[in-house]
Amino acid sequence: MFYRLYNSDTQSLLAQPETRMGYQIVEVQQNYTTKKMVVLNAELAFDIIDYGSYRKKMLQEGFRKMYTEAGLLNASIRKVYINATDATGMVNEARHTATRGALQGPKEKADGKEVFVRLSAYENDLRVDTVNKCLKPGSFTTTMDDYLLTVAKPYDPVARYALPNTEVIKWAFFFQPKNIDTLQRGIVQPANNQPGGGKEVFFEQGTTKGTFIVKTEYGKK
């Protein structure tokens, strides 16, 4: 379930630190039981175990529409998780009950054929090794199908990939990893006050030399 907060609760949360950028994880007491909720923008609260299933709805309908649909939360907020370690634990709990980010995904080998796309605001993206023509270790991409879907709909890439919203995506870098390259797949988790929901692929060790195919402007072939 999701709920909008009373203005007094919103004001209270605004006076307290975020758990992570863009959201707070809180413990509420409702009908003599306690539960954990994710609160976005200090206004809209989700039961933590349902949060993953509502992300797609938010991506499609937008925050404000969901806010207007939501009933009021009749519960008292008992605690805001502000400790970074606690927060990470809480987020992981949400991920494991719904979807998970790429960092929590199992490692697999590339098949040598699949193409991955890295979106960037920067033409000189420093994660792209233009000398060795590969992706540097510890870098994220999305899949080709998710990129094409995002462009075709169109979805806002900042929302879909939960990017800091001051960034404007202008460039797309295409990679075709070899079958010795390792990757981890997942779904972008909410961050930066964005819902996420796109596919993300993490290359812990980067990709091998010669796997960078081409750079284009975002959305152009």
Partner: protein
């Protein structure tokens, strides 16, 4: 809230490029200033551009080191 962007010095950029991203295109970092203050949960874009709120008003010369913020 207005923000400022600071181009990080090359040694820090080189370090950040060698560290994993938080999400596509950015890293969350803590910044250790020479005066001993630590600024947490700041964003760095493209491993090279630090975003700080305008009221933090730090400059490149004040930065001692940068680490990933978990």
């Amino acid at each position: 809230m207005s923000t400022l962007r600071i181009n990080l010095p090359e040694p820090i950029v080189n370090k950040l490029v060698s560290l994993p991203e938080t999400g596509m295109g950015y890293q969350l970092v803590k910044v250790f200033l020479k005066g001993g203050k630590v600024l947490r949960n700041l964003k760095v874009f493209n491993s090279s551009i630090l975003e700080v709120s305008a009221n933090q008003s730090i400059n490149e010369a004040e930065i001692e080191r940068v680490e990933l913020d978990s």
